[in-house]
Symmetry: C2
Subunit: 318 residues, 2 copies
């Protein structure tokens, strides 16, 4: 019911009389008043003026499903949303939902994470109401070996959404980090649930520093707000990420990885750089020259050898 | 306590006096008698003779953890056992245990499965007390793309164990079926839980027709008992599979996939055959000439092209 009230107020963009509103919703004036109070309690500013009625003055910066859904216009991403004030980890929740059969595009959102983590269990600081912490369930029906392309899609979509929403030029450090002016802005954690030769579902987790101030950033981290000098709407940015994810994902499904890889090259801060990669038993050092159709990084060593790196942490030298 | 009683009776292999037994276990004669009754109820034949004591005459053909563990002598496989009279699916249970952090080698055993399944959700008929239905959790720390090798390891280990225990020559149809005299004897279902570039854990599920009679076999299926003409000890065969899995898995960890691939070639009924493979958008037909180090099947088409097949169902032509 509260979502319906918000819908009417949003459409009107002006005062809407309490009589009209309660008639349209089929509830009493008193019931309407109670719902309006509850909306105010959750952070909506609703102005009430005698003889004029109610007007929506502002929405809280909360990732409520009704906020995310309003004007989203996607076919897959976020059609089903699970929202939490705080979660240990959105990826863990999404994995459980995936096992229970949640459909493609299911979105898990949390305002904060108590055990947010990146690759190899590394901590991802997830202070409440500051960042975007979301996980998407995809069911691409591909070979497990092709799944790194989904990380590329997420990385490109995040950079596109940030550009669109803030004008800032975020970049990608292979394989899964988002950087802004050489500081860490966010990361992607892709997890697979698969049979030997087919992916059942993938969870794409995204953690992004948005409205963090200096105190809510770890060393070497940066937020969009710090860089832009003003607060960012986490709702709008989340919506834009979902739209860009959908466009890039559908293009990958229809035409393969080539288009996404071309975009990725433009956002990369890794290509052309001298990199050092620690593999299990040895190190590879050389110039990062390209990524291939599976998402692997191609490195040319000083001896002139081309090596394909599928896994691991890279260090950008100098 | 009942496991301890069984241990003593097994070691003695003859009559053991009730006085001695109750003293060693630190329980009363009456408590001992109650435990003996309960063991008899679960299917152990224990003979009691006045003045001589108790003797273990026979064990039931049940996959009780105490039966599997007795004389197993493995370091990893089956060090922790979860046993069920009936489960929907041993793989599903093992996946849950894996997510909860169950260690490498954890074994899930069920006497029957109500929703046993193979690749792509296909049904696997799992009548109670007839077959072996088990799942093993492994944590090999490899790339997802390398996981098909684990299916090869399971397939080879099953063939080795059957040879050792019954003398029968089971064979492997790529990628995951066990055949006996061109009829289906069993299958393997390998499931991954992984990050983009590292496997967190793998569940290897094995379903094998052992003591099934004609009525408890599906069309085109065969059991060891039908072929051998006598009942097979499911306990001994399970133990042998675990031992062979451990040996082959450790060899893979130490030396890579080459050794297992050489063994696999000898058990294969696919290599040298004319095969047809249905891929997503087209069919490949030709001679299956080899498998490569990742477990992919190499097919030479009539046009002389070599194609690597990673995924899919193959049909043996003629």
């Amino acid at each position: 019911m509260q979502d319906k009230i918000l819908d009417w107020l949003r459409k009107k963009q002006d005062y809407l009389s309490g009589d009209q509103l309660s008639q349209r919703l089929g509830i009493s004036r008193q019931a309407l008043w109670k719902h309006i109070q509850q909306l105010k309690d959750t952070g909506y500013e609703i102005v009430a003026v005698p003889h004029l009625g109610y007007r929506l003055a502002s929405c809280p910066d909360r990732l409520f499903p009704s906020e995310i859904t309003y004007g989203l216009n996607t076919k897959i991403m976020g059609k089903k949303i699970y929202y939490f004030d705080i979660l240990p980890s959105t990826n863990e929740m999404a994995s459980e939902l995936g096992i229970q059969g949640a459909p493609e595009g299911t979105l898990v959102l949390a305002e904060g994470q108590s055990r947010g983590h990146g690759r190899l269990g590394r901590n991802w600081f997830s202070p409440k109401y500051k960042g975007i912490y979301l996980s998407l369930i995809l069911r691409p029906g591909i070979l497990p070996a092709l799944s790194p392309v989904l990380t590329l899609i997420a990385a490109v979509s995040i950079c596109e959404a940030i550009k669109e929403n803030t004008g800032l030029a975020a970049q990608i450090k292979w394989p899964n980090d988002i950087f802004l002016h050489n500081k860490k802005l966010g990361g992607i954690l892709t997890e697979l649930n698969a049979e030997m030769d087919i992916v059942r579902f993938v969870v794409i987790g995204i953690g992004l520093n948005v409205n963090n101030d200096k105190r809510s950033l770890v060393q070497g981290g940066i937020s969009l707000r710090e860089e832009k000098g003003e607060p960012i709407s986490r709702v709008s940015l989340t919506q834009e990420i979902l739209r860009d994810m959908e466009r890039n994902y559908l293009s990958f499904q229809a035409e393969g990885s080539q288009g996404i890889i071309e975009k990725w090259r433009n956002y990369s801060i890794t290509l052309g750089r001298r990199v050092r990669v620690s593999l299990e038993k040895r190190q590879v050092e050389g110039e990062a020259i390209d990524i291939d159709a599976d998402g692997g990084l191609l490195v040319r060593t000083d001896a002139g050898l081309r090596q394909k790196i599928i896994s691991g942490d890279i260090i950008h030298c100098r």
